[in-house]
């Protein structure tokens, strides 16, 4: 078969028009030859023999008449052992290797193997000659870090196959043929450890999708207790700049209770990626005792890198996540920020002269965002194991206004909403997740009615607080004032968390439950106080003790002592107990 070729007819920003001879397919990859360089691009519109491609590089220097080669393949990624610990750009080029080859700058047209070809892996075969297999079935395993990496029948091999030969256990390079499969027509297909898969197609080699019910613990109190995320679920973090989106993502990427974390830095600051890049290799993953980098993949397409690759980067990231899900692992994908990805779509849509929707975003914005988040999910594989992909995306709304199209389109499809507020971050209340506006549809580590009891205090406290601004403290009744103080107390000691404190930064579910029970002891108590000043002093003292408790190691002597002191402090003021609160505490314990 001869390859389709074409010539450039026009250039407008990163969009290039090409006149083709032969067949082309949508989203096919094409290379534009400029002098000695080949620039990668993707077909985004076909009209007769005129095709428009978006170029993943700076388009300077392209001229009308430059030759274009079409590959016949959609934009795809390499899947195989060796992905963990890598730092890729949006097109899966390994950045450290690119630096070795091209120096300080990302020169256009440098494309390298995504997975090292010279490294060998210890292969243990599982499949036997004569086995009937289909796409996604297990052929063998290799150890990769703390995991057993499954070598599977490539996902692109549709139909039924019979295993004809299997190499014995031993060390092999990833591109060596290990297994020979025969299809129904008798053709032999060699299979190695590595294969490619198009990023814009979801990997679907599983038996069924399940409902996400098990919480994904982040060790963040406000998330785990109040706005939980389930394994296989989706959540979004919209917030104005400076509200702490990225810090929250970084903390989550360290502490989340999952096997693998994939960070997609999409159109954000390079400096932030550098921090992760340099710090993760030094940090220890408490689950495996190995370096945190060994469970992490970073896809990095920072704001100054070409825009078209920004769009590809989120798809690259989710494809890698789905690949590891096929091994029965729990994967968390953190995308920062999906707004930049949406803006990349907007830029292309403008160049294609499509009719714009709201704020000039394309009309298909919602469906594209929805289908991206839908690639999350917990699935049962054909061998009965389960694996999950959880997606958490930040949104950077223009002007911090959540009414804009990207935030709204995202809110429609996610299962939890962690809205960050400027108000809270200005007051240095971190994490700045707004406790009244945010929501989650998932089950958390604590039963819903118990959580609801605490949240009611937040609502009532906010009401009293708003009223107090108008009528002053003098015009507020003592009872209302105590409710107000209770809400503030819950906020200060439980919702806020110091991510720079070694103990407070990550709180295990067991400790969260115990802390929350102690908080409920305060909330449900009817507090005796002479006047408002007396009440304020009492709550300040209580808060100070509780903050000390948050900094004490769990179940240490100091922890026990502080806890006893708090209980004594409350008991000394308790003139009665709200029976509903008492029942809920029992349920918690």
């Amino acid at each position: 078969m001869t390859k389709t070729t074409g010539t450039v007819t026009g250039v407008n920003g990163n969009m290039v028009g090409v006149r083709v001879q032969g067949a082309v397919s949508m989203n096919e990859v094409a290379y534009i030859r400029v002098d000695e360089k080949r620039l990668k691009s993707e077909v985004i519109r076909v009209r007769g023999d005129l095709v428009q491609v978006q170029v993943f590089e700076i388009t300077k220097g392209i001229k009308v008449g430059d030759p274009v080669e079409f590959t016949g393949e959609m934009l795809s990624v390499e899947l195989g052992p060796g992905l963990l610990g890598q730092i890729y750009d949006g097109l899966q080029n390994p950045l450290p290797e690119v630096a070795e080859k091209a120096g300080n700058f990302l020169e256009p047209g440098v494309y390298l193997d995504s997975l090292p070809r010279n490294k060998t892996w210890d292969f243990s075969p599982v499949a036997k000659v004569g086995d009937r297999v289909q796409r996604g079935d297990l052929l063998g395993t290799v150890p990769e870090g703390a995991f057993s990496h499954r070598i599977m029948v490539p996902f692109g091999l549709y139909g039924a196959y019979t295993v004809r030969s299997v190499r014995p256990a031993g060390a092999y390079r990833i591109d060596e043929p290990l297994v020979e499969l025969e299809d129904e027509r008798g053709n032999l297909v060699p299979v190695s450890m590595v294969f490619r898969w198009p990023v814009k197609r979801a990997i679907d080699c599983y038996a069924e999708r399940l409902r996400p019910v098990q919480p994904m613990v982040t060790k963040n109190r406000i998330i785990d207790t109040f706005f939980p995320v389930a394994k296989g679920g989706t959540y979004c973090i919209p917030g104005p700049f400076g509200a702490g989106k990225t810090v929250l993502q970084q903390v989550t990427s360290r502490n989340a209770d999952v096997d693998i974390v994939i960070i997609a830095a999409c159109g954000e600051r390079a400096g932030e990626v550098v921090e992760t890049l340099k710090e993760f290799p030094e940090l220890v993953d408490p689950r495996t005792g190995r370096s945190l980098m060994e469970r992490t993949i970073i896809i990095c397409n920072t704001s100054s890198m070409p825009v078209a690759a920004r769009e590809a980067s989120v798809y690259t990231a989710v494809t890698l996540a789905e690949y590891y899900r096929q091994m029965g692992l729990d994967v968390l994908l953190l995308a920062d920020s999906t707004s930049r990805w949406a803006q990349a779509m907007r830029e292309m849509s403008g160049r294609l002269e499509e009719i714009p929707g709201e704020e000039a975003f394309p009309a298909y914005l919602e469906s594209v965002i929805a289908s991206f988040y839908e690639r999350a999910g917990i699935v049962r594989l054909r061998d009965g194991k389960t694996g999950s992909v959880t997606i958490g995306g930040t949104v950077s709304p223009a002007g911090g206004n959540f009414e804009e199209p990207v935030t709204q389109a995202t809110l429609k499809v996610v299962g939890a909403f962690h809205g960050l507020s400027r108000e809270r971050s200005d007051a240095r209340k971190y994490p700045a997740i707004h406790p009244l506006d945010s929501w989650s549809k998932y089950k958390g580590i604590i039963e819903a009615p118990v959580v609801e009891y605490g949240r009611e205090f937040l609502f009532r406290s906010a009401e009293v607080g708003a009223m107090m601004k108008v009528v002053g403290e003098e015009g507020t009744s003592l009872d209302d004032y105590i409710v107000y103080q209770k809400g503030e107390f819950l906020d200060a000691v439980y919702l806020q968390q110091n991510s720079f404190d070694p103990i407070d930064a990550a709180v295990a579910p067991e400790r969260q439950k115990r802390s929350y029970a102690l908080v409920l002891d305060v909330l449900s108590a009817e507090i005796a106080a002479k006047d408002k000043e007396d009440a304020r002093q009492f709550f300040y003292a209580l808060r100070q003790k509780f903050l000390d408790l948050n900094g004490a190691e769990y179940k240490s002597e100091r922890y026990a002592a502080l806890e006893a002191e708090i209980r004594a402090l409350v008991a000394g003021r308790k003139k009665g107990v709200d029976p509903r609160g008492a029942r809920l505490i029992e349920r918690l314990e």
């Binding site: 392209i62 009308v64 300080n104 921090e275 704001s303």
Partner: protein, 433 residues
């Protein structure tokens, strides 16, 4: 050898189109009009039609004028001869000196490989307490100064330029008033900093297209110096003018506007400039301080809003002072732990008390009674504004920290400050007998 085209097909605003072959995207051309020659850059290719934006503007261009393609993209000469010189947005001398044409480098090159960057770790001292003490500027940081028009932002920039401990200063002026341009020139000359400075200045009277070139030229030169191991400080003023110039071109090009008329790629355009700020693992660094004026003091305006998402914090200039609230240096944590033991505590402690002072002011204005504590806060707030926030205060960090203790001691008892006991023992000024 380059072919000359003598028929211009269309002229819209500053954009002309010519039928030509073999032209590259981003290539430069020279347009000869009766007012003289001007450079023009290819911004679109469509079959045989080439669109160019003319640096000197479309006014007076005739359909019969000659267009000659130069076969290379926009370039600027790079050598140590640049130091002390002043150029316009097209790279032509503004100071009457000779035109430089050696060692030409392409502007707006590719982005730095993130794996070659390092975590920034050195502070840049400016002598402004509101920066050094409260929101430290860090080498390789990109920080805008958000300001309302009329604030002394150019004075602030000039002062930082004079005092910052860097090897080279590059000033990129966009839509500068002519007076401001002269002010910068005079200030640098008088302070003796001109020999380590390079200025690329587009004034408000110059053609708008040249405004677009200023950041790219400035940063391309900065990048080369950084690669030679120099620490470069780039000052850009005013980025809102740059964004407005982009808007103007986009609208004449009939692009679909996204927000208040700005093009949809405003974020990417700004980011590709700001992201040039870098600390190379094996060479020098680029630090960017840029002024962004906020039309109508509105931080949600597209230019400051998009900027805020790109940069590593911001300084708010309001009422002639750098506001402690809203101002933020995201990188200060990297450096303020190793300056002096009391740096972080003074930073947090004084701001918390200043916030309490603001609350008290509000209470006072609503007519509530002032307690003894409120009165102390009022005294403190005034002293803080006078001796710390005022832009004329010019002292090194250590002196600013001492001054902080002095202010605290003159207003409060030690335990009222919320500072840790061991710090108070060490730093609290002893009463002179």
């Amino acid at each position: 050898m380059n072919k000359v085209y003598s028929r211009i097909e269309s002229i819209t605003g500053n954009v002309i189109t010519v039928k030509a072959e073999g032209v590259r995207y981003g290539e430069l051309a020279e347009v000869k009009t009766r007012f003289g020659a001007s450079l023009a850059e290819v911004i679109r290719l469509d079959e045989g039609l080439v669109s160019l934006q003319v640096f000197a503007g479309g006014r007076g261009v005739s359909t019969g004028d000659e267009v000659r393609f130069l076969g290379h993209p926009m370039r600027v000469s790079f050598s140590d001869d640049l130091l002390g010189r002043i150029f316009d947005g097209a790279g032509e001398p503004r100071d009457g000196g000779p035109t430089l044409s050696e060692n030409l480098i392409t502007i707006a090159g590719p982005s730095v490989n993130p794996s070659k960057r390092i975590i920034p770790r050195e502070m840049i001292r400016t002598g402004v307490p509101m920066i050094d003490l409260f929101n430290t500027l860090v080498k390789s940081q990109k920080l805008p100064i958000f300001s309302v028009s009329g604030e002394p932002y150019n004075q602030l920039l000039a002062r930082i330029a004079m005092q910052a401990e860097v090897d080279i200063i590059i000033l990129g002026g966009m839509g500068l008033k002519y007076d401001d341009y002269l002010f910068f020139k005079d200030t640098l000359e008088e302070g003796g900093a001109l020999q380590k400075a390079i200025m690329f200045v587009h004034t408000a009277a110059d053609p708008v297209v040249e405004c677009l070139m200023v950041p790219d030229i400035s940063l391309a030169v900065a990048e080369r110096f950084a690669l030679k191991g120099k620490n470069v400080l780039v000052l850009l003023t005013d980025m809102t003018n740059f964004a407005d110039a982009m808007k103007e071109i986009a609208i004449t090009q009939e692009q679909v506007p996204s927000n208040r008329g700005y093009p949809g790629d405003l974020y990417s355009q700004l980011a590709s400039r700001y992201e040039k700020a870098v600390d190379f693992s094996d060479a020098g660094s680029i630090t960017i301080l840029a002024v962004t004026t906020m039309p109508g003091d509105d931080v949600t305006h597209p230019v400051p809003d998009n900027t805020g998402y790109i940069t590593e914090g911001q300084y708010y200039l309001k009422g002639g002072r750098i506001e402690p609230f809203g101002s933020l240096s995201r990188l200060k944590q990297q450096v303020n732990g190793k300056t002096r033991a009391d740096h972080r505590s003074i930073m947090d402690g004084m701001i918390k008390l200043y916030a309490a002072y603001k609350d008290t002011l509000e209470k006072k204005s609503m007519g509530f009674q002032m307690s003894a504590w409120d009165k102390k806060l009022l005294r403190y707030g005034e002293a803080f504004e006078r001796e710390m926030m005022d832009l004329s205060v010019n002292i090194p960090l250590e002196a600013a920290l001492d001054k902080g203790w002095e202010i605290l001691a003159s207003c409060f008892e030690p335990q009222e400050t919320g500072l840790r006991t061991e710090l108070i023992e060490k730093f609290w000024p002893k009463k002179t007998a």
